[in-house]
Symmetry: C2
Subunit: 252 residues, 2 copies
DNA sequence: CTACATCGGCGTACGTTGTACTAGTAGTAC
DNA sequence: GTACTACTAGTACAACGTACGCCGATGTAG
């Protein structure tokens, strides 16, 4: 992802060079503002150009393609996702927890960024580098061999991405339009009546399945609690491995 | 997601009704074949219609929109992701592990399915229901209260999605075209020279950063091992919670 | 068998998208 | 001033999703 770089190189301008009217950062910021305000689908080349008061094709002197622009936007998100450097705890669990929470918050604020991760390389831009550096700093105190450190970092990143994608962004039953609910309820009843879903049937009971579902979902822990709990479990597991690993290397 | 249903209701055809030439399942299968062979971007309404030997607009008698077709494709994936019913272990850890591994394999085979999760509701189609039922069966033996069961299930789903998205699908350094490598290496060197990346510098050393990076990535555990390890950690954490929970309820 | 009613099939067309091509313009160095 | 070149941008095109509306096949009624 060469294009993840902040600016095209022009430290020594060629003779007769003309100063660009925009920076890549400006363009990314404009695209980001549109995405935040109207959704990622509203980000078209024409739209971004208009927002910048430029001709559409002018953008193509700053980005190679639309996915290039997208990579720029991703990197801007990676900046937002950085933890203020001084606030990073020396304790690796606290530090990783802080990083994870901040990352989740950023991705929830910009849902398209999560979905785009697999499309473009995520580790390319300079701010992604910084994020990685922060993660390295966080796990520095674990005493783990380097491969295990990287593994731990990746695991946290994976967990955050998965949680946001599946738990935070996946539309819940509340997103179902009211007029569609009866049809879905009938469909659910029909499926359950087949007898192929014993556990689901037990879960939802015999009465108003719709109300039962809402009740169960409403009574459980909040997403925040669930996120924290899952993270704690991962860190617990890692801590176990770490103490085992340290005990082993001390024994040697 | 009303449209997740397998067929439009026409048990009692209207007088003079004509029998449809296709089923929604056939259309989904055709779209899926294209997606697998040429990528999700190759799935256009025209392309799918051509594959079915139909006019483009004919599809719109079976699906309301393209995203509707997409939902159908998603549900087809959910079918592939089901564990053969009899092979589900009674041990909750084994059962969840089997489900997770199968899910990962399916998503890796069909990368677009992961990315689409947040776009359309994931829990809508009939096969998604079955997947949920299987998960419920898997955690039946935990003795957990229902809310915690659901939490555990969601946690596994989240982990799988995150791992596939970030670790399996994210293009690694090997995806970088050879001609771009020197430029990126130079950029990396430049960034490191700023001194803002002490841990990263330590990690990559002073010599050929590119080779160092490749060496580290190559020496670590394989993705399969990493997936299994993370899963084990999650389950370890959950097992700890379970034994605590059981001890507490026994004490009462 | 004929006539009718109905709905599946699909050709045409429109607005929108990303972006290739190309010509023009304006800022900088001499 | 002159020349160079990078920046700017208009036009154009292929491909997309899909609204609209006609046609004809097909099952039912008589």
């Amino acid at each position: 992802m060469l294009s993840g770089m902040p600016e095209p190189v022009w430290a020594r301008p060629d003779p007769g060079a003309r100063r660009p009217r925009y920076t890549r950062a400006q363009i990314a910021a404009a695209a980001l503002a549109i995405a935040d305000a109207e959704g990622i689908d509203a980000v078209t080349m024409r739209r971004v150009a208009t927002a910048l008061d430029a001709g559409t094709m002018t953008l193509y002197h700053y980005v190679r393609s639309k996915s290039d622009l997208f990579a720029l936007m991703q990197d801007a998100i990676m900046e937002e996702l950085l933890v203020p450097p001084d606030s990073l705890s020396a304790d690796w669990r606290e530090a990783l927890t802080a990083i994870a929470h901040r990352a989740r918050a950023s991705f929830v604020r910009h849902p398209w960024a999560v979905r785009g991760i697999a499309t473009d390389g995520g580790a390319a831009g300079p701010h992604a580098l910084r994020h990685f550096e922060q993660s390295l700093a966080a796990v520095a105190g674990t005493g783990l061999p380097i491969a295990d450190k990287l593994d731990l970092i990746a695991m946290i990143d994976d967990y955050v991405a998965g949680f946001v994608l599946k738990s935070d962004l996946e539309p819940g039953p509340e997103a179902i339009p009211a007029e569609a609910a009866p049809a879905i309820a009938a469909y659910l009843d029909e499926q359950l009546r087949t007898g192929d879903y014993p556990h689901l049937t037990e879960l939802l009971g015999d009465g108003d399945r719709w109300a039962a579902l809402a009740g169960i979902l409403g009574s459980g822990p909040t997403p925040d609690e669930r996120f924290a709990r899952g993270l704690r479990r991962l860190l617990d597991g890692a801590a176990g491995d770490i103490s085992r690993s340290n005990a082993q290397s001390a024994r040697r």
